[in-house]
Amino acid sequence: MRGEGPGNAGRAGSRAVQIGFVAAFLGLWYLATTRWGVSSILLPNPLNVARELGDILASGEFVADLRVTLTELFVAFAISAVSGVTLGYVISRTRYRIRVFDPLFSAIYAVPLILFLPLYILIFGLGPASKIALGASISFFPVVLSTIAGFGNVDRTLITAARSMGASDPQLFRFVLLPAALPVMLTGMRMGFTVALLSIIGSETLASLEGLGHRIVHLAEGMEMARMFAYIAFVVAIAALLNVVVSSLEARGRRSR
């Protein structure tokens, strides 16, 4: 509660705490596995994990699973982005349609749709199709809701002004509606991408034959803990990388308008 300013000393201090936190975490992990006799089934030695990670990267074993997961992700996101933006734009054109559909989509969005995974598996099978279908369904809602919000809340004066200056429909869309709606839409698309990634890795973990999520479960069931931890680190890094890329695309999209 003290109002200490973020001086240089304070900032260096926080940095030191962060580094110390990570170092203590790794140190305790190492000591737990070597000195304190924690079973390597429960917690593998961090050095072994690092070695396994090196092996996975060097052998290129991850390529097939990564390709499956990324293909599912991009197909699912393409479906939800195209359908969500199209439907959202059509709905946003009249107040009446917004009031009919917006509460409906918000209500469905509040349900954890991962519940329907067993049904998707039943209908689409264990392969990539069920992951794509689930990922597309889950990520559809943030995209469509933000598109409705974006196009539905454009300032009336801007539209009237453009009309009175003789803008045609395509011109109105290109120079007034799209720039006004884009920031909100981009946020929705970023959220859609994130939940698509989560639901695809999730459904691969729960029921699948291939993909990164499946690989982790496969190693867990085979009790190959060091390799499993290495794959977890790999997937977390891939997810972080994808999030950074998507966030920077979002920021660039905002600037370019």
């Binding site: 409906l104 067993p118 499993m228």
Partner: protein, 254 residues
């Protein structure tokens, strides 16, 4: 459209019409177009709800899942409140730990689900633990952001009027925290539902995950959809409950 009476044109009625239309499409597709092993018509699902409840073990499984959700939510709120307050009120700990919390919040936790099962077993403990790790981060982040937005002048004036630390928490911080607390509860509930249901679907001996697997493997879409429907209803009730609380308490200052 102009010929329709006003009542029929209200958005609520139209929305109901859209829902009924979708149900009709589903009914027709399930009855005549899709293999009955994979999809059941909504009428059969509704009629079969009694049969789902009558399945031995299902009421118990719903009870276990509700219990897991309740415990996980209570733990998430408790942890989120304490950590959120500490991190939000103390500048140094915020700058030190907020990046770490945000980093953990941003990782796809489902990748570590097998580890949770390994550590906490296949019973309710692993579901509760997984629900807590999903629920506590949004609560921490919202509460930390909420207390950070308290105007410094309020803290300074309370201090200068001789308030001690407890009095400042009780009369300045807590009242200002209420809106973000309820927003955090809503986001936390969404997280807890996701975490518990993910862990249930992954592996379960007595919870609802056991029965979704059973019904899927028996190609019994009627009972599967009935069970999923009941869980979705449960999720909607829980979400709606915390959302109502949020809208009720969010605007106390206006």
């Amino acid at each position: 459209m102009t010929a329709l009476p006003r009542a029929l044109r209200s958005p609520g009625v139209a929305r109901l019409g859209v829902i009924l239309g979708l149900l009709a499409v589903w009914e027709i597709a399930a009855r005549w177009l899709v293999d009955p092993l994979f999809l059941a018509p909504p009428s059969a699902v509704v009629m079969g709800l009694g049969r789902v409840i009558g399945t031995r073990g299902v009421p118990g499984a719903l009870g276990i899942t509700l219990y897991e959700l309740a415990i996980a939510f209570a733990l998430s709120v408790a942890i989120g409140l304490v950590v959120g307050l500490v991190v939000g009120l103390h500048n140094f700990s915020r700058r030190s730990f907020m990046p770490i919390i945000l980093l953990l919040y941003g990782t796809p936790q489902v990748t570590v689900l097998p580890i949770f099962i390994l550590y906490f077993g296949i019973g309710p403990a692993s579901k509760i633990a997984f629900g807590v790790t999903h629920g506590m981060f949004p609560i921490i982040v919202t509460i930390a952001a909420g207390v950070q937005n308290i105007k410094p002048i309020l803290l300074v004036s309370a201090r200068s009027m001789g308030a001690n630390s407890w009095q400042m928490l009780r009369y300045v911080v807590f009242p200002h925290m209420i809106p973000s607390f309820f927003t955090g509860m809503r986001l936390g509930m969404t997280g807890v539902l996701l975490g518990v249901l993910l862990a249930e679907l992954y592996v379960s001996t007595a919870g609802i995950g056991y029965f979704t697997t059973l019904f899927t493997q028996n190609f019994d879409p009627t009972r599967l959809l009935g069970l999923i429907g009941m869980l979705a209803a449960m999720a909607i009730v829980l979400n709606e409950g915390v959302r109502r609380l949020e809208t009720r308490y969010a605007r106390w200052r206006d």
